[in-house]
Amino acid sequence: MTVFEQTDSFDRKSDYPISELDLLVKSNEPVNHEYRQLILAAPADLLDRCRAGQFFHLLCPQTADHRPFLRRPMSIYGFYPQSGELHFLFKVTGTGTRALATLQPGDRLSVAGPLGKPFEIEDSWQHLVLVARGVGLATLAPLALEAHRLDRKLTAICSARHRDYLLSIDYFKDLGADVIAITDAEGTSDVDHLERLLEDLVQQGKADVFYTCGSNRILTLLKKIGKRHSIPGQIALEQQMACGLGMCHCCVRPFEQNGQIVNLRVCREGPVFDLQAALAW
């Protein structure tokens, strides 16, 4: 039994799980000098359809300096049907995110979604362990909210170059998570140290499932520990996308399924995949 159900069947005449909408920008503020938080006003029926781990495909604005052509996929940072808000946390790195950074309150942004397969939290998973680094913390943040809602114990191991880049720590703490911060600057983010932290959690019976995203190092380590102790895991992955819906087959990545390497679409079969099926890159 999984908590999140994917919409596999629907009435073709009236029930459309994916929307293309122009949403109003409520705010778009820097959270440090690399990351910004974008808050959009969204209708409740859209927010009700959102699940942790899903993403939206954003049509970034055309500016004098930045002319992104394709949409940009961005994982949901937070969705709040009661306040009517959809949140994204993004790192300003390329043409699309630079254009997004120019959005002002009152502007409109075209979003398509919610898209993709969400994280699952099975009934037997009482102690959740989340390991993320950098902007990956944004992808895992809604999982913390869902864990809180379902009254599950959560340990969040948050990794960054420096404490200043540890995003969402207070957010995780407010949701009752045990937060373990590790940083390059303090020499605590290396794989050996992380492995000891995780082994400790396993020994204490506080690791029924691992959730992660993004980092090759963390993926490789979690796969090893997961295999060693038969602990399941899920990973959210990224890939360059064109359509975001599954039509174009641009965003495939290789996965191991039944001993074979197969290409799966990150937008459709993912972005959340089984940890052991994911391959380091």
């Binding site: 052509f69 360059q240 064109a242 039509m247 174009c248 087959h249 965003c251 495939v252």
Partner: protein, 314 residues
């Protein structure tokens, strides 16, 4: 009252808007009612399973995109079992796009896919990514005629030949397709292109080169649609850079009877139904009541054949 219906070689469409192959799939039914489209055109299938090309499979350039997907295909069996039954719930005609590595293999697939539930077959004789040495059947009139003859013998369904812009013989290829038995021409596929990252000096596509699509391609496809309509007596379906009703009208005036929408659906999943709505509004505004009033209505005077079928920029 405006009438959007068009006739493509005996196949009646409720409107001239349909997806371009490779930019459409069952997933779009989760966004809007696919019944609103003139036809459904599937991604090209091959007889056997194909993995497709290495990533990156897409890159954006100013105002357009390049792709090199490489026709990943689950093969004919999966298509017969899953895809055709899905589209059977819609009244809109189903157009199945197919490809083959040799003319005989192509024709055999064409015969095997001519089943109940399929209303027309679009033969992708133009995909620039997978033919040996980048050569596609539709680059030359001789190979076009040869493969179309075999395809024609393989099926009684309407055959739509998808042409390539990677040829210097557009009218000759169009005539060869018509003589080979095509019921309509889809004009055209993507144009072979390239992009390089200047920092890494690496090609920006995993497969080195790929097909250009989007608004940049429209003047090229429009020119070809015009030439093909002049060169043949079969319907032309315009394809390349359509993202607004005005683009559709331009193709119709050039001589196309319908259009396919591709890249625009990547930017706006609802693009096709928006275009249908815009087309109705435009017709009402301009007092045009049927597609026949637009198709081939170009005011091009009495141009010489030399000018119409020119294959070099003046």
């Amino acid at each position: 009252m405006v009438d959007l219906s068009v006739d493509i070689g005996g196949l009646k469409l409720i409107n001239p808007i349909m997806p371009a192959s490779g930019t459409f799939s069952e997933e779009l039914a989760e966004v809007f009612d696919l019944e609103r489209l003139g036809a459904h055109v599937t991604k090209t299938i091959t007889r056997d399973w194909r993995n497709g090309n290495p990533t990156p499979r897409v890159c954006e350039i100013s105002g357009s995109m390049l792709n090199s997907i490489g026709i990943p295909s689950k093969g004919i069996q999966a298509f017969l079992e899953n895809t055709i039954p899905f589209y059977r719930q819609y009244a809109a005609p189903l157009v199945v796009s197919i490809s083959g590595n040799t003319a005989d293999e192509f024709a055999a697939l064409c015969a095997d896919i001519s089943v109940d539930g399929v209303d027309a077959i679009e033969v992708n004789i133009s995909c620039p990514n997978i033919e040996e040495d980048g050569k596609a059947y539709a680059i030359r009139p001789s190979t076009t005629y040869e493969v179309m003859r075999k395809l024609r013998k393989a099926t009684d369904l309407p055959l739509w030949a998808k042409l390539t812009p990677n040829t210097g013989e557009t009218p000759e290829v169009a005539r060869a397709a018509e003589e080979g038995g095509a019921d309509a021409l889809v004009v055209a596929n993507t144009i072979l292109s390239m992009a390089i990252d200047i920092d890494s000096r690496k090609p920006r596509l995993g497969n080195l080169m790929g097909g250009l699509s989007g608004p940049c391609l429209k003047p090229i496809s429009l020119r070809m649609a015009y030439q093909c309509a002049k060169a043949t007596n079969i319907p032309v379906i315009g394809c390349g850079g359509v993202s607004t009703a005005e683009d559709v009208i331009e193709y119709l005036i050039a001589g196309a009877s319908a259009v396919q929408v591709g890249t625009a659906s990547f930017l706006n999943p609802t693009a096709m139904i928006r275009i249908v709505d815009e087309l109705v509004a435009w017709m009402v505004r301009n007092d045009v009541s049927s597609m026949d009033e637009l198709i081939g209505s170009i005011n091009d005077g009495e141009q010489s054949e030399g000018l119409v079928f020119m294959e070099s920029a003046p």
